[in-house]
Amino acid sequence: MKKGIRIVFSMVFLLIASPYLQAEENGITKNRVLWKSMSQQERVRIIKMYRVWKTQPAESRRKIQQNYKTYHNLSHEERQKLKSRYNEYKRLDALHRKLIRERVKKMDQMFKDRRNMILERYGTMQKKPREEQIRMIKKSLFWKRLNEQEREIFKKLLFPQHEENKLQ
């Protein structure tokens, strides 16, 4: 009787786990093919990246892995938005990048209830049409307090190219 239960549990476990294991195996196989098809120059770049990654503190590595998972759970639109935002962010000089990081850090350091309030308001804002969202941002205290240069930067970060005309 006990043996039977054990077999059933094992089968159920394998049934649940096998798609994940298979997916992981497929991912590795895909990566292996990709790795083999890469140019030597690209491989060297990846190796250098790997070396930097390995020397980073465990906490930073965990954060990157977490971000990687988060990204892959996002919708296609969200991914596109973040990619284009990253391209804009990359073009910024070090000082402006630091200023943005500082602003974000300030938000991270807020009390949990305040952070939750922001997330809640963001959720409400997201339900509105995009034009309305842009109008709200333009009217916000945050936007009013930005200087011309910062406004240009946030325009690029918050509104993709095709939305720029809506700001005029």
């Binding site: 120059q41 770049r45 250098k48 943005i100 938000m107 305040r114 308001r121």
Partner: protein, 181 residues
């Protein structure tokens, strides 16, 4: 055995440091040569004056003082060698640390660049855990992007931060005013 040799050896002759044959030769020469005799007499006079001087006993701590002075001289010599050596070592260490730091920075910069301009070396392709790279290949390809992803996501919330902060401040102010009333 000329006059020059005799005069050069007069001092040794007077101190009886020469062989018996040389002593008798010099004695014979001095007796017959006027120049050498004059030189011998001049030297004898000087010798006699020196003998009049009282012998001074050195102070008992003189040896100790001399040895101490020599030791000090030795240690200052050691310092003279060691100080430049230490300075050179310090400089070498600074250069090593600076180069190491520069190299690490350079590596990071290289990793951050999307276009790989590195020279391909066999060494780069060896000594790496290829399996681990393959497992994390997608992540490594866009590492910088994933590194900043949370910041990029939170940019959306920034327009709301100051609004919320102001609301909270206003609420606090009004509640304080109420409590005061």
């Amino acid at each position: 055995m000329n006059c020059q040799w005799i005069q050069d050896n007069l001092s040794a002759y007077m101190d009886k440091e020469l062989s018996e044959a040389k002593i008798s030769a010099i004695r014979e020469h001095v007796r017959n040569c006027t120049g050498c005799r004059t030189e011998y007499e001049r030297m004898s006079q000087a010798w006699n004056v020196l003998n009049l001087w009282a012998e001074i006993e050195p102070r008992p701590d003189l040896r100790k003082k001399i040895l101490h002075a020599v030791q000090e001289e030795k240690s200052s010599q050691w310092l003279q060698i060691m100080l430049p050596a230490a300075a050179v070592l310090l400089m070498a260490m600074s250069i090593y640390i600076y180069v190491g730091y520069f190299h690490a920075r350079n590596d990071q910069d290289m990793a951050g660049q999307t276009e790989g301009t590195a020279v391909v070396t066999e060494h780069d392709l060896q000594n790496v855990n290829e399996d681990e790279i393959i497992t994390h290949l997608e992540l490594l390809r866009d590492k910088d992007f994933y590194d900043t992803l949370d910041t990029l996501e939170k940019i959306d919330y920034l327009p709301l931060v100051e609004e919320v902060m102001q609301n909270i401040e206003e609420e606090q102010r009004s509640s304080l005013e109420c409590s005061l009333v």
